[in-house]
């Protein structure tokens, strides 16, 4: 045995290869999309040819995504999907992969695109580090925002799916959306969600509803 050889743990990175011998913080597919992003919108790109746009996040929270979509009004297939992303490696790779998925094989219909989940993007990327999961959720949200925008523009408001937030704790002003975000950022228990949101502190009557939501979002995203 060669004792001089450096030990290499496949588990030191957040993502490890299948044989467990190599590790990096991102999978090879993530790296490929990160270093060679597909379908992004160039600065001088003509945005007027797109008939739907979507936006999510803000630079203050560390990620901002914008997407431009060209949808065939007859078939409701996605013909083209362009994006710009301010964010880390996994945010860029997720949006790039999402753009490939919705446009490959002549494009998804909007209905198919709506059925797509953040997990599907993550799976195609060969996994994301656990703490980066919210990045794939963000591009999924930008896509949904663009789909709504398309229906708004063609005058079919009944097809818009509003992801309205519901006030859970009127005292701390915490909505179900805030709890969803906390779960996505890694909070798994009532205590950790409270540490992030202050929900139910001084208003313990809402705690059963909060625990119910935590379970719901944990199952939705990590189940």
């Amino acid at each position: 045995m060669n004792y001089q050889q450096l030990p290499q743990s496949g588990k030191t990175g957040d993502v490890s290869s299948k044989d467990g011998t190599k590790s990096w913080f991102y999978s090879d597919i993530v790296k490929d999309h990160f270093f060679h992003p597909r379908n992004f919108m160039h600065e001088d790109g003509d945005t007027s040819i797109y008939n739907a746009i979507g936006k999510v996040g803000s630079p203050a929270c560390g990620d901002e995504l914008r997407v431009w979509m060209k949808v065939d009004p007859k078939t409701e297939c996605i013909l083209d999907f362009r994006w710009q992303t301010f964010g880390c490696g996994s945010a860029i790779a997720s949006t790039s992969m999402c753009s490939v998925m919705v446009t490959e094989n002549d494009g998804m219909t909007l209905e198919e695109a709506r059925a797509m989940k953040p997990q599907d993007i993550m799976e195609r990327l060969g996994g994301l580090p656990a703490r980066k999961f919210h990045c794939s959720v963000l591009c999924d949200k930008a896509l949904r925002d663009a789909i709504n925008d398309f229906y708004r523009r063609i005058g079919k408001p009944e097809k818009i799916i509003k992801e309205a937030s519901r006030m859970i704790d009127p005292i701390s002003k915490v909505t179900d959306h805030d709890i969803e975000e906390a779960v996505l950022e890694g909070a798994q228990t009532l205590e950790t969600v409270q540490a992030k949101t202050k929900v139910g502190i001084g208003n313990p009557g809402v705690l059963p509803a909060v625990e119910e939501l935590i379970r719901f979002y944990r199952e939705k995203y990590f189940g």
């Binding site: 630079p59 992303t85 964010g87 880390c88």
Partner: protein, 399 residues
């Protein structure tokens, strides 16, 4: 893999000096005794520790019994803060620190505040990351028992007026024993003359991994007469304040590393300042929408911290990594907590600036060629990421 290897993360860890490694070797192999054992091999180990302690004391202008060996910067900070607050709480329960301290200081202080009934004042800094000595003076109270201000910041490199603050505290306490003054000097061991008398500090933290010594070893200077409550129990080592069998090779390496960096200090500072300013100027002049974080003058010779607006730091360090350049970021995305750097936010800048911050820290191995290489590849990488970004931060944040 890139054929280049440009390591610019010396504030995180420095490579071990080969000469330090050589003096450590016998204590990893032949000298196998426990320093507490009453035989020849034990005494050899014990002697090595005491000689190292004398070296440390001489370099700090302190006495050997004022040097305590620990497992590193975090333990020294924790021991200084928790140990002295707990041992001296009957004299007062007020602590003072600053917003840009290392987490080893900040979290120890907030722990005492939350769990053990201490009051804590966290002083702000100005836009360059400087602590105002007048604000320290105003924050001092009769029940203040402890003040901790770092000597130079690990992220933005700002050097604090430690001697001035130490003087204020010394005058305030007069003939009283409190408040005690502690400084974390981990980033400055190779930069400054750490003469304790001139700095007016009572406790000082240093560690091996920032001065070309081994990792997992550190020291705490504590002025004679100071009482500390131990954090661990079970032996008489380090006068019972830090029990446990000593890391003999680490201690020997720490003292040798400290001696070596202090020897070459002035020449190396001069060399690093030149390279540092070359890198800062090169970036600010050739890459638009960039901002230097920290003080342009009162700055560690090896620290460059730049915010690249409109892009995110983690994405940039991965691009640099692919080019064989190894740096750090204050971005939230690179941290397990998803919170951006508390140090950059303390400068009063928007979150966007913290998310786009990248730290380059130079060291012994850094050459002019390395800096030229960084300046050669960096503009393209920044441009590539900016083209993908929808964010355009307003100009007022980077001028």
């Amino acid at each position: 893999m890139s054929k280049h290897f440009v390591y610019l993360d010396h504030a995180a860890a420095t490579p071990l000096d080969p000469y330090v490694f050589d003096v450590m070797k016998p204590y990893l192999k032949e000298v196998c005794g426990n320093p507490s054992s009453f035989h020849t091999v034990g005494k050899q180990a014990k002697d090595a520790i005491e000689v190292s302690r004398e070296t440390m004391a001489r370099l700090l202008s302190a006495r050997p019994d004022e040097i305590l060996f620990t497992s590193g910067g975090t333990e020294s900070d924790n021991l200084a803060i928790l140990g002295s607050a707990r041992a001296n709480k009957e004299h007062g329960r007020h602590l003072i620190t600053t917003a840009i301290e290392h987490h080893a200081v900040l979290e120890a202080c907030t722990y005492l505040q939350k769990k053990e009934g201490f009051e804590l004042t966290i002083l702000p800094v100005n836009t360059f990351g400087l602590v105002d000595p007048d604000q320290v003076a105003q924050a001092l109270r009769p029940d203040t028992i402890f003040v901790s201000v770092m000597m130079a910041n690990n992220e933005i490199g700002t050097i604090q007026p430690i001697a001035e603050i130490g003087n204020i505290i010394r005058k305030f306490r007069g003939s009283n024993a409190f408040p005690l003054f502690h400084t974390d000097a981990c980033q400055t061991v190779g930069t400054f003359d750490l003469n304790i008398e001139r700095l007016h500090v009572d406790l000082l933290t240093l560690n091996g991994s920032k001065m070309y010594g081994p990792k997992g070893i550190g020291a705490l200077y504590m002025r004679r007469g100071i009482k500390l409550q131990p954090l661990q129990f079970g032996g008489a080592q380090e006068r019972g304040i830090r029990p446990g069998t000593e890391h003999v090779a680490g201690i020997v390496g720490l003292a040798k590393a400290f001696e070596l960096v202090q020897q070459d200090r002035e020449k190396e500072n001069e060399r690093l300042v030149r390279l540092r300013d070359m890198l800062i100027r090169g970036i600010l002049e050739h890459i638009p929408k960039t901002r230097l974080n920290g003080d342009p003058k009162k700055r560690l010779p090896n620290n460059v911290n730049i915010s690249f607006l409109d892009i995110e730091g983690e994405a940039l360090i991965l691009y640099l990594d692919a080019k064989g350049i190894y740096v750090s970021t204050g971005s939230a995305c690179a941290s397990a907590s998803l919170d951006p750097s508390h140090v950059i936010l303390a400068l009063g800048v928007p979150y966007e600036v913290a998310h786009g911050s990248v730290r380059f820290t130079l060291g012994h191995s850094t050459t002019e060629k390395d800096i030229e290489y960084v300046l050669d590849v960096l503009p393209h990488l920044v441009e590539k990421l900016r083209v993908m970004s929808p964010v355009h931060v307003e100009e007022k944040y980077f001028t």
